[in-house]
Symmetry: D2
Subunit: 353 residues, 4 copies
């Protein structure tokens, strides 16, 4: 019953098998191997984009920070949600890779930036030399509160950003879960909606340590390889990243994994709905739940062996608050979560509730 | 017959098995798992050092650059050999991680810095505000020319560096090969000889993607974790790095691998010695050979399917030169190199020689 | 009638005369001249501090950014008011000089950070590797809203900061005006109240282009000279900065200048108090006024030749708002402001009011 | 008899008078004043260039580092002479402003890079991701050895650089002296010969603290103002820099100053030629002399009150060496050097020689 995160488990079976299968034999190093080279046509097919560039890395922080480093100059601003992972959980990686750009966090319920909020902020910025000019917008999909931007919202936000001269990045650490939540195509949720670069997450959904930076605007890809090298993010045995991503895409394995995780989250949510005193802070849109629990129930669950994190957020829906005797917590399901685990958790909750 | 590098092959069997074995089950992420935590006592035992800190990363470039970033301030100098990997092959990673420190390359045969060269350089530096102050020395062991520093040489160089206020780093991308070449203990070749931080390489000697920064001076370790996080080098599934390093150390697997690779290199060298017109630029001290071949032999070997790189170096022994009709090349053996491959290469050379 | 800023005028007569007086003859360059060397004992006497270090620079942005660069590592946080100059008006200079540290802005009326706000923020920060650790607090004295921290407030804030391991910086761009506003000694308002480094402003109060970084903790001064050099902020003809600062301190010229500017601000405020529909957003504590005017009066003043900036701030006192037909503006007086200018402005306001 | 540098004296009379003359009255700050705005047409006229951008700063180090920061990305190489000021005398300012670019120094007699040396170096660079790509060439005019590049040499070097995709910078700390030495027009020595950005020095030739970055390629100027601001190099009282540069250009004051300094250097050289045992390491091309003196003469000169620096250089003409009992020294004349000083020095030398 570990719902702490979708990164507490290892790789899915197909991904692990691919790592093993491609381990043998001599291959060119530093990404010149055929497996790595094949990633480009594969991703182009999945995203229906003829020119996208693929840059594999081992971590989501590296993917995000490298992506932002080609969008924001050292003296520029990057706009994000105030609770975005890049803002609060990466120990300044964006600042490091951009050489000092500033992140500006906008508030908004559910971890989402509202179009009027973005437009108002950008329109209100003074454009003189004392002010860092805004150069990028980054959206998290799923958000830190497990919510999704609809295709229409992404399109609107991108249009606003582009009209002010900003490029648009999507942090897709849980891209597959969001995609399954929306039920649209990868292209629809990204470049067709105005996304310029995507951090395509895989580690949280079946890979062991693999993400891909997908660049939809070729000009933004030009310096990425040199930046990746000097960050120490080109693995000498490139096959390791390539094998994972290859197996991840193969036979829509990634979509199946995310669909499963989302189903487990929905099942958890449905079960929790029947327990007195429990409500969800936000609706379930992917594989994350944020129940608000009576403190006693929280304690009983932990005593019973359930593992998860408490959660604090300023991004609650209007009118929602966490009461004195309540706790907000975060439950995350993964590709590997079983129905049995869900039911065990629910049974425990019912007994304690 | 691929002698291009020791990173053209995948992981050794025990390392791969460890990755698979530790894949299942839920474990805390970001390095809080028991396997990662166990690395510290394991490395302390191997290096006979009670306080060393272990920081695992996926690449040698990251290991080197992170290590230097805690030794050299942004306005400082780092002294290295002019052909060192950090100087010529990492696309400015040390400069990135140190925020602009300068590497100063000293010449010297065999990729080695001579004590008098180091002392003369440091003594000759002006110490005023216009001059970047020297803060670190980094030694490559094996060097870029496949040579080793003896324990005495390391001790002397460290003493000179320390006496001028510099910390000392060792780039041990091929640490195990050097160690087997010297036949001494890990402690003798490092901290007992004055090394403050070691980039302990594993990827070239059996791991898939794993290195460890070993810090022998606790004060230098203080900021390393934050620096690693903001560089995107903390893997969420820390077990992946830990499993590799654990298996790598287990039962002296790493030493056996290196001993094998070195034996294969010695066998290649012995075989080449009997071929007319072939000589080695430097003696074999580990798993690298740098034969100078007649151009025709070089062409014949490549036509025959041998894979390796040509090599240029200013670091030749006094009196040695590569003649007009000659080519210097680099041959590297690995843990996975077979006697059959070596013999096939030699047979090809004999036929063509 | 130019009340746009205290930097729209040149140098005061004694400062200008000192520049001219010290222009002749050969002197060692880069700050080795006797005039620069004399700054240290002079500042030590003024601040009653036996060990303070003096680092002169030409701009306030350089002073602030250099000061922060020795207090905050690249992966650290600097806490400031959300409207602080370092946060919104220096185009990322602190981020540049610190190599990517993050500024976190706290809200608070009058541009002031409240002790409970600081304490709550610091206590609430997670201390793990994903989070940038807080390392410095910077206070603006005068604040961006022209307010002063009392000695007690500075002491309390410094104590909180120190107890959490932060160093404390004061941005004293209008240090003299604040000091005259409080009527205390330079030592009382700085190091005796816990300030570790002060950006001692002079350019806004009589100098042409001169500020001094005053370091009260010797350990923080160690790297400052190398940092200043590599930022291009060591003038070859150091006499230029030294002559200004010497004349600025001489005979308490700086205090007289600030006292005059403050008197002119008080006179403006008193006059505006008698004009219907005009109120001050905050009380006058130095040489800055923030009147809220009927829009018609604002327009009439500008038509009549008065020069000043409109002002927006989230830092208004509780209950205060700028109404639909109102404008908040900023008026700044300087050492050179004359009573005649003040009266001319007030007469214009009375006619239009 | 101070020949230590051309920055040991203050401003020339016309420059000082301009500072005083423009001190009074209120003017917009941060470079929006009319005097600053007038610099652009003035420099465009002097350089016969319709689009050049002018960015005034207070120091040569800032001018050079800012110029390079728009030419070289953080992962790029900048080629310079191995003894260039940017390489050895700016404490890493280029590395700071470029965020970690690497300077690569080429050897060459007289501080000059030879075309074949540049071409060979650039042609020999591997172009893969492990290698920092070369992006700029910087030439010092006068060189560190007081030599000049001819217009033809600049043209050839620029053509080579451009053909490899590099932009070309000129460090003109002693631009006027070099120009007078060559006897050509400012346009001929710069953009017509391929220079893309010039650091136009004034502080060493009559200004107190003023340089101008002159950008001949408008695209390279786009980010310069934001970069300058975040470096703290926009003075609030912009008139100070503008007044100096205005007076410096006025009536060809700058050319007259340089011509005088060069004449004084020539006179010194002619006088030294008659003294036994004295020879010049390089011919005099501007206002710098590098005599090689008997050690006894050097000591006698210093005892007699002459002030100058000893000098070490690897850049001696072929065949030249500094003997055991000899000293190489550097003598610099300035706009303010008098014939009397020169004659006093020569008389002292003759007595001691």
């Amino acid at each position: 019953m570990n719902f702490a995160s979708d990164n507490v488990v290892g790789a899915s079976a197909p991904v692990l098998e691919a790592i093993v299968r491609h381990n043998g034999g001599a291959l060119p190093s530093y990404g010149a191997d055929p497996l790595t080279l094949r990633l480009t046509p594969r991703f182009r097919a999945v995203f229906e984009h003829p020119d996208l560039a693929v840059v594999p890395v081992a971590t989501g922080t590296a993917a995000n920070a490298l992506a932002l480093s080609v969008m924001v100059p050292p003296f520029g601003l990057c706009v994000c949600h105030e609770e975005a992972h890049v803002m609060v959980d990466e120990c300044g990686a964006p600042e490091f890779y951009t050489h000092g750009a500033k992140l500006h966090g906008l508030p908004g319920p559910g971890g989402k930036i509202a179009p009027e909020s973005l437009d108002g902020y950008l329109a209100g910025l003074a454009r003189h030399v004392h002010q860092m000019p805004p150069r990028a917008l980054t959206l998290s999909q799923l958000t830190e509160s497990g919510q999704v931007y609809t295709v229409e919202e992404i399109t609107t936000l991108s249009r606003i950003a582009h009209s002010h001269g900003l490029a648009v990045h999507m942090d897709g650490a849980r891209f597959a879960n969001a995609l399954q939540g929306l039920g649209c195509s990868p292209a629809a949720m990204t470049w067709r909606a105005g996304i310029d670069i995507l951090s395509f997450g895989a580690s949280k959904n079946g890979a062991l340590a693999a993400e891909a930076i997908l660049v939809f605007r070729p000009d933004l890809a030009e310096t990425l390889d040199h930046r990746r090298k000097r960050a120490g993010h080109i693995l000498s045995k490139g096959r390791f990243l390539a094998a994972q991503l290859d197996a991840y895409l193969d036979g829509d394995h990634w979509l199946a994994n995310a669909a499963h995780a989302n189903r487990m989250a929905a099942r958890l949510a449905a079960g929790l709905a029947g327990i007195p005193g429990v409500r969800l802070a936000w609706p379930v849109r992917g594989n994350e739940l944020f129940p608000i629990l009576p403190a006693g129930l929280d304690a009983a669950l932990r005593r019973g062996g359930a593992v998860y994190f408490g959660w604090a957020s300023r991004s609650l829906p209007p009118g929602e608050t966490v009461g004195e005797g309540e706790r907000m917590v975060r439950l995350i399901t993964a590709f590997s979560t079983t129905e049995a685990e869900v039911e065990e958790f629910l049974a425990l909750a019912r007994r304690a509730g």
